[in-house]
Symmetry: C2
Subunit: 482 residues, 2 copies
C-alpha cells in the first residue's frame, strides 16, 4: 500500500486540491470534445486532438499518483458521467481496493459499468474477508467463478464468513495473522519473522496456539522487541486476552475495542480454535457506518444515498418513511376531525393545537434518545428501570408546570380568555406526561421484543404525541369551554 506524500499540506486539504485538479482536467477535456465536434475546419483537428490527448495523459498521471482511498473519495464527489470517465482510467490493480473503499451506492454504479471479466480480475486480488464484504454486490455468476478460483482454505474461510449474520464478529474478521507455539524462544520467533519477510498490516501481537490450533495467549510485538531473545514465549505471553467468538455481536466487539483500547484481537470458534482476528480499522469503519445509519434512519431514510443517485433511486429510499409519516399524520387528522364542532365554535383552538402536539413530540424525542443510548451502552437493567421512569416522569411534571403555565399565560394574552389559558396549560401538562411515558416505554418494549429500539421509535412516538396532544387539548376544550 503506497503511503500518501503529504509534504506540508494537511491530508484533508491536499485531498480537496486533488479533487479540484481532476475536475479541472475533466472540464478541459470536455470543452475540447465539444470544440472538436463543432469544428469544421480540418486543419485545426490535429492540434485539438493532440491537446485532448495531452490532458488525458495528465489526468492519467495524476490518478496514478493517488492512494486508492483518495481515488475512492474523488469518485464519490463526481456526478455519474464524470465518475465513469475516471473509473475507466484507474489502474486496474487498484480496482478491487477502490470498490471496497467507496460507499455502497457508488459501488453499485461502478460495478454495473464493469464486465464480468474485469470484475473477476479486480476481485481475485482481494483477500478473503474483503471478497466477503463485496459479495452482496457482485453478480451471481462472478461470485460463482470467484469461489471456484479460490484455494480450499480461502473458500472455507469465505464460506465461514458468509454463513454468519451481518452484524456478527465474523463480518469484521480478517485472516492476516501470525500464530506461533509457546515452547520456542523469542530469538526463534525473530528469525522466523525475518525469514517470513513481512508481517500483516496492523500486527501488534502474535497469537500463541497449541498443536490443535487452540488459542493459548498472545505475545505483543512490544514484549518481543524489548526482551532478551533467550526467553521463552510461554514466559512472556499474556494468557488473559480479550478475544471474541465468531457469532458474538459486532457492536459488543466495538465497545470492547473502545473500552480496552485494542488494536487487534483474536477470533475463535466454539472450540476455542483460532479462526482469525479483528483489527481496529474494521472497528472504526463499523462504528462510522452504524452512527451514519442511525442518523439516516432518524431522518427517515432507509440507507445512504450517493450524492448523485438517480431521482428514482432516491425516491425509493425516501418513500417508506414518508408513507409511514403520512399515515400517522392522517390518524391525528382524524382525531381533529372528531372535534370539528368545537373548533367551529372556538376557532382559536385551531391555532393553538399544533403547539400542544409539537412540544409533546419534542420532549418525547429527548427522553427516547437518552433511553436508546443507555440501552446501546448496556446501562439499563431491571434494577434501575423504576428509578429511570420516576426521573423522566418527574421531569415531565416539572416541564408541564413551567411550560404549561407559560403557554397558558400567553394563550390568555392572545385571546383574553382565562378558561382557554387554563385548558391550554392543562393539555400541555398531560401531553408532556404522555410523551415522557411513551419516550421511556417504546424503546424499552422494542428492546424487550429484540427489535432495534432506534428504528421507528421516533415515528411511533410522534404519532402518539400528536394524536394524544390534539385529543387532550380539544377534549378538554369541549368539556370546559363549550
Amino acid at each position: 500500500m503506497a503511503e500518501l506524500n503529504a509534504n506540508n499540506t494537511p491530508a484533508e486539504d491536499l485531498l480537496k486540491q486533488h479533487l479540484e485538479e481532476v475536475i479541472e482536467l475533466l472540464n478541459k477535456q470536455r470543452l475540447e470534445e465539444t470544440i472538436l465536434q463543432h469544428q469544421s475546419m480540418p486543419r485545426h483537428d490535429l492540434v485539438e486532438t493532440l491537446l485532448h490527448k495531452q490532458h488525458q495523459v495528465a489526468l492519467k498521471q495524476k490518478l496514478d499518483q493517488l492512494h486508492s482511498a483518495d481515488i475512492a473519495y474523488i469518485l464519490e464527489a463526481l456526478p455519474l458521467r464524470q465518475r465513469l470517465v475516471i473509473w475507466n482510467m484507474v489502474q486496474s490493480e487498484l480496482d478491487g481496493q477502490i470498490l471496497l473503499d467507496v460507499s455502497d451506492a457508488v459501488r453499485q454504479t461502478l460495478i454495473s459499468d464493469m464486465d464480468p471479466d474485469e470484475l473477476l480480475t479486480a476481485t481475485e486480488q482481494l483477500e478473503t474477508n474483503e471478497i466477503a464484504d463485496l459479495a452482496p454486490d457482485l453478480p451471481e455468476d462472478v461470485l460463482q467463478e470467484l469461489l471456484e478460483s479460490l484455494n480450499d482454505q480461502s473458500r472455507a474461510q469465505l464460506e465461514s464468513v458468509l454463513s454468519h449474520e451481518d452484524d456478527t464478529v465474523a463480518s469484521l474478521m480478517d485472516f492476516n495473522m501470525v500464530a506461533i507455539r509457546d515452547d520456542i524462544t523469542l530469538g526463534v520467533v525473530l528469525r522466523y519473522l525475518r525469514r517470513r519477510g513481512n508481517l500483516p498490516e496492523h500486527t501488534d501481537k502474535l497469537f500463541v496456539v497449541d498443536h490443535q490450533n487452540a488459542l493459548k495467549g498472545v505475545l505483543s510485538l512490544k514484549r518481543l522487541l524489548v526482551n532478551n531473545p533467550d526467553e521463552r514465549v510461554s514466559e512472556l505471553m499474556s494468557n488473559e486476552v480479550v478475544h471474541f467468538k465468531l457469532s458474538d455481536e459486532a457492536a459488543d466487539a466495538a465497545r470492547a475495542f473502545e473500552r480496552y483500547d485494542l488494536l487487534t484481537a483474536p477470533v475463535v470458534d466454539e472450540h476455542n480454535r483460532l479462526q482469525g482476528r479483528i483489527c481496529v480499522d474494521a472497528i472504526l469503519d463499523y462504528i462510522r457506518e452504524e452512527s451514519d445509519d442511525e442518523i439516516l434512519n432518524q431522518a427517515g431514510l432507509l440507507e445512504e444515498e450517493d450524492l448523485f443517485s438517480g431521482i428514482w433511486q432516491s425516491l425509493k429510499n425516501r418513500w417508506f418513511w414518508l408513507g409511514m409519516n403520512l399515515i400517522t399524520a392522517f390518524v391525528s387528522t382524524r382525531v381533529i376531525g372528531l372535534f370539528e364542532n368545537t373548533i367551529e365554535q372556538i376557532v382559536a383552538l385551531a391555532s393553538l393545537m399544533p403547539i400542544v402536539a409539537g412540544i409533546g413530540g419534542n420532549t418525547g424525542t429527548q427522553t427516547s434518545t437518552l433511553i436508546i443510548r443507555s440501552l446501546a451502552l448496556g446501562l439499563i437493567s431491571p434494577s434501575n428501570v423504576r428509578k429511570l421512569v420516576t426521573k423522566e416522569l418527574g421531569i415531565a411534571v416539572l416541564n408541564g408546570l413551567v411550560w404549561g403555565s407559560l403557554i397558558g399565560v400567553v394563550a390568555y394574552g392572545l385571546y383574553r380568555d382565562a378558561h382557554l389559558g387554563m385548558v391550554m396549560a392543562m393539555a400541555m401538562m398531560l401531553n408532556l406526561l404522555v410523551a415522557a411515558a411513551m419516550g421511556v416505554a417504546i424503546p424499552l418494549v422494542r428492546h424487550h421484543l429484540k427489535l432495534d429500539p432506534a428504528v421507528g421509535t421516533s415515528v411511533l412516538l410522534t404519532a402518539i404525541t400528536d394524536s394524544m396532544g390534539f385529543f387532550i387539548f380539544l377534549g378538554l376544550a369541549t368539556v370546559f369551554l363549550i
Copy 2:
C-alpha cells in the same frame, strides 16, 4: 494496565455479569444496614456486623479484579448513592484512569465527591495529555497545584495542548513515542529498545527525526522486525508519511485515520518539529463522541446526560431547545391566526393543515440530513452544487405530484369537496418545494458562514416548513374556497 480475563465468556456478557454481582452485593449490604438500624436486640449486633463486613470484603475483592474501564462502566450504570459507595471502595491508583473512562456527567459526580488531596493524588499519576482531558472538570486550585507538581517538559506540553482549541489535533495528541535518528542501523535500534525495556502502548512505528527534532520519516516495527539488523534506518524508513499539524482539525485527522487505516501518526508544529503523536484509540473515542453529540443535538439535547442526573440538571440540559421549539411553534401559530376567518367558514381546513406542515418537515429533514452528511465528507464543491439542487428540486416535484395527488384524493373522499382536494394537492406540492429548497439552502449557508451545519438546522427547517405549510394551505384556501 491489567488485561481482562475473558476465559470463555464474551467481553460484553462478562461485564453485565460483573454489574449484576456488584448490585447484588450492594443490595445485601444495604439490607443488612437496614436490619442493623431496626435491630434493638444487642446480642444479634455482632453477627450482623460481621456479615456486613464480609459482604464489604467480597465487594472489595470483586472490584480489585476489575479493569478500570469495567469499573467505569459499573459506575455509569449505578444511581448516585450506590455509585459513590463503589467509588470510595476502588483502589486509589485506579482513580485517575477511571475518571478518564467515565462520561462527562458521571465524572462531575465523582469529582465533587473527592477532596482536593485525593484529586491531586489521582491526577498526578496521569500522563500529560490525560491531565489535559480532565483539566476542564478540575477545580481551579487543584489544577494550579497539579501544574506546579509537573516538570518543565510536561508543563510545556500541557500548556501547549490547553492553548489549542477543543476540536484540533492537539486535543487528540499524546506524548508517548520513540524518536530515532536515521544514520543508525536496525541493530542499534533493537539494542536501544531492549535497553529502554518498554515501548509506549500502541507503538506501530518509530518516528525518525534530525538533530533539530524535525520529522524526516517513520520506521514501522514491521520493517524493523523483518529486515536485517545491519541495514540503516535511512534506507528502510518511509519518508512519505501521513502527519498532522497541532492546529489541524480533529475531524480531518479522524477521516485520514479511516481512509488510510492508520494506527498512529506523528504531529508536528509549524516548523515541522515533532511534537507528539495521535493514536487510533483517541480517534475511536473522538468519532464515538462526535456521533453521540450529533444524535443528542438532533433530539434537542445540549449534551450527554448521566442516566441518573438530578432532575434539575436534566432540565437545564433540555430547556434550551425546548424553548427554541416553543418560540418557532408560536410563530407558526400566528400564521394560523391570520386565517381564523377562513377556518371559521371551512372547519375541515383545521384537520387537514397539520398534514401539509408535517410532510414538509419530513422531506426537508431527509434532504438536509443528506446535505449535512455530504458536507462533513467534503463531497460538496462549487462545481456540483447546481446538479445537487436540481436533483433535490426534481425529487420534490415528483414527490409533490405523487403524494399531493394522493392526499388531494383522500381529502376529497373525506369531505366530498373537489376544490378542497385540489387546494390540498397544490399546497402539498408547493410546501414540498419549499422544504427541499430549505433543506439544501440552510446547511449550505450555515457551512458557508463557518457555522456547524448539523446544529440547529432541524429547528430552523421545521419552523419554516410549518409556517409556510400553514400559510400556503390556508392562503390558497382563502383565495379559492371562500
